[in-house]
Symmetry: D2
Subunit: 271 residues, 4 copies
């Protein structure tokens, strides 16, 4: 990892803490929750209110959806971003949303508090350079076939353009095992803690593809030393347009949040 | 998983608890620790005493070593088993040791309290049938390229021969990521908890190949709901004949054990 | 593969043949050759002359290079495209070159005869839509972790925007095997022949990462039914800025071409 | 590959040729064909006669079947071996059959002309040592998650016991791609040709799991430089107890054999 320079831990380094409004990522445990896609105003705002009440720190929701099939729902685009803005006005939760095109970075940045780079675009170097020029933190998902080294190089692309605020997000890698959607590489969390000063969070929803596994993987993420989670929550998962099998309902999420907060507090005290 | 019958959870099932001397696996959190290989009496007994003191429940140690190269140390064989017997006499710790040949099952069973089937032999069906006829519990490691389904079928092979005492051990799968030795599939723990009544433990040493990751993966295993761990510990890891990079020294192990016990207790109380 | 519509074989289908100047892809065996990167005029034009002489049908060369590290050579950009134009003027070979940003598609199309989408951008859906609107054939490389199904969906994205000219390029997938750079999935060739009417070519250079394997993989591609190859060739591989280990020199390429042409002719006659 | 000694190419090496009755492996192109399992006398002998007529050099057939589920057909055992012996008496074809237990090696050697080690037992080192003591050639299949290096070490285990006759068989590796049963690693053929003097053959049936791909993969194997094939053929594939989807009928096999023989002859002449 010879050329990992800006992302690498140096002697004088303290860990990077990223502030989004009054939320700190990299200091304490940060939970980002919300629906896979922004489907409409009601669904988004009700979910936002519920996750806020359960203790989430930020709201996630996709307005641009990278979908395997061109015939699948591609997201509401600008309308979706406007709905997210309303959800923020309603709840105060900062917005994490994906950007998928270099041309969209400037105007999506007006709606997003954190720009998400999805797994499929992890090595879209043009997009990395563009968000590297933006003045917003970037949540960089690991590509599903990316090594930890390649992933750090992608962070380096963003840092090298002048944007120091990168959050790494482990979301499962693709392996031969098909029982789960992907394989959560929980080891990547302590690995990264030894390699980089950037915060590291975990996405248990895409990693597993199964809602009933999400709490267990979330507890494991806390125990392994992650700085936070990004979790799919929907007021009615069975009606969700995408990812319904991996999405928690608001009751399940609230129950999990309670345990996560107490587990994190226990671990902090006993370190 | 149509043909998973004996291993599958049934309505009337309670979880299987396996008793080895006064140790219970599947009830509470069980830690098996010890060297990769039995190298000599001093190393084995000193390690046994240290892990016992740190709170380990059983002693692991290989007398037959399946090694990639035929020119690598193949284990002490019978002499190794005799050393393990002495270590048990000294500490009271039950012995977990690997068997690699159908012809050895009867006599290795006289020394072992738990017969280990290694990852490379997971689908050695002759060996599975043979340990299925033994009157000792079997620790069945997941093959490094095995699906959860195939692994359960291997448990089924053992159960089907009349041996009801099988412990499943997740030890990492082989993926494209080479930073770690294997990729710990932490999701397999909650998956299996929904599929089988058998106890599930985790091997963080082989999963990571890196001693500094072992504690974090161990905490994650506790949090994900595992029933125990099997960990490589050596009085002097730098002198170990095999697996030195992934082996804890006795001080590191003791420190980790303390945290594991308190973490497990906290989670049990707060469930 | 329910939603593979435009890319799928239908009863009335004949195979798609794509014409680029006087080269036909999907009818006969088409060889695209040239350097990984356009480094300078001399290197590019000399290589072009050599591969033309050896019987190549088109010239490849990267002006925009997606590189793992931001500190690695990123390509000459516009200057590189101008050099490719000169190489075409000199040799008559049509130009295949990669485009990596939606904003570049219109003006790169003025220099390229075929727009290449690289493996890392296979699921850059914005880029797929943009090249779907271009009036140039698209060479779509398989993502290194993409299933055949996902790859066909990416072709479908392009076709669905109105561009019927898509060439699929197998370039190896990422597996646990590290002896070769990637693992050439030779089976994908006959698989695709049963699933789609689009032409399928093979990239033995990236698939293997080893120049000495390139001829054997090329012969295998011919035998498996591929419509062509894309091969890295350099006048002086040892001085190449990228991919030197997998690049043939012009003598090796000429020797291989002779065998490929005779092998293809033999197979055509004996079908 | 520091410790690959006996299997490695040395200056003074000529390629190893293994003689089985009047069949030479490693000199010319050798085709082993027959059913997955020996099911009964009629099926085995009729298949043997058909593959002999089509030009096969040896007969394959399993009497001991390593099956994922303990409830699946486990093979006819001794009765199966006796049927194979009759098939040999009828056709003259030498017999290739799998051995799965160290205890069986001596007596199975009385029926088999070549002892097969299956993919699941590639790293069953006890079994490797035992066949290393046998006086029969060994066909060593690559484990589905084994690197080329590990595979060569397994050959080394056999050679190191004094048996110089090892045939390596590439049969596909396990990857994320599920469209085919496994992924044929065609590159392993030329890789091995540069690393070892042992003959290398290809199993296109297990590699693909799809009968319609078998001919294409077989042609690719010829073109890539393999020394032979092992192919599943059944008089009535739709009635086969195992592997029906990947098994050729005798007409398909005969058609493929004709092309293989002419393709191999062409390549030999034009080298």
């Amino acid at each position: 990892m010879r050329d990992i320079k800006l992302a690498a831990i140096k002697k004088e380094d303290s860990k990077t803490i990223i502030y989004v409004d009054d939320v700190a990522i990299g200091n304490g445990f940060c939970v980002i929750a919300g629906p896979c896609s922004v489907e409409n105003e009601k669904q988004t705002i009700e979910t936002a209110i519920a996750v806020k009440k359960a203790g989430a720190d930020m709201l996630r929701g996709g307005a641009f959806k990278p979908r395997t099939s061109p015939y699948a729902f591609q997201g509401l685009g600008l309308m979706g971003l406007k709905i997210l803005k309303k959800a923020k006005a309603e709840t105060g939760l900062p917005i994490v949303t994906e950007v998928i095109d270099t041309r969209d970075v400037p105007w999506v940045s007006e709606y997003a508090d954190v720009l998400q780079i999805g797994a499929r675009n992890m090595q879209n170097f043009s997009l990395l350079k563009e968000v590297g020029k933006a003045r917003k933190p970037v949540l960089l998902k690991r590509g599903m076939n990316s090594t930890i080294e390649e992933w750090l190089y992608c962070a380096e692309y963003i840092l090298n353009e002048g944007n120091p605020e990168v959050i790494l997000c482990e979301r499962g890698i693709r392996t031969f095992e098909t029982y789960t959607r992907n394989t959560l590489d929980i080891s990547s969390v302590p690995c990264l803690k030894g390699l980089t000063h950037l915060p590291v969070i975990v996405d248990p929803s895409h990693a597993s593809g199964m809602a009933n596994l999400v709490p267990y993987l979330s507890y494991a993420a806390v125990a392994a030393g992650a700085d936070g989670l990004i979790v799919e929550v929907h007021i009615k998962p069975e009606d969700a347009i995408c990812d319904k099998n991996q999405t928690l309902n608001t009751v399940e999420f609230a129950r999990m949040m309670k345990k996560i907060r107490s587990l994190y507090a226990f671990i902090e005290e006993n370190q």
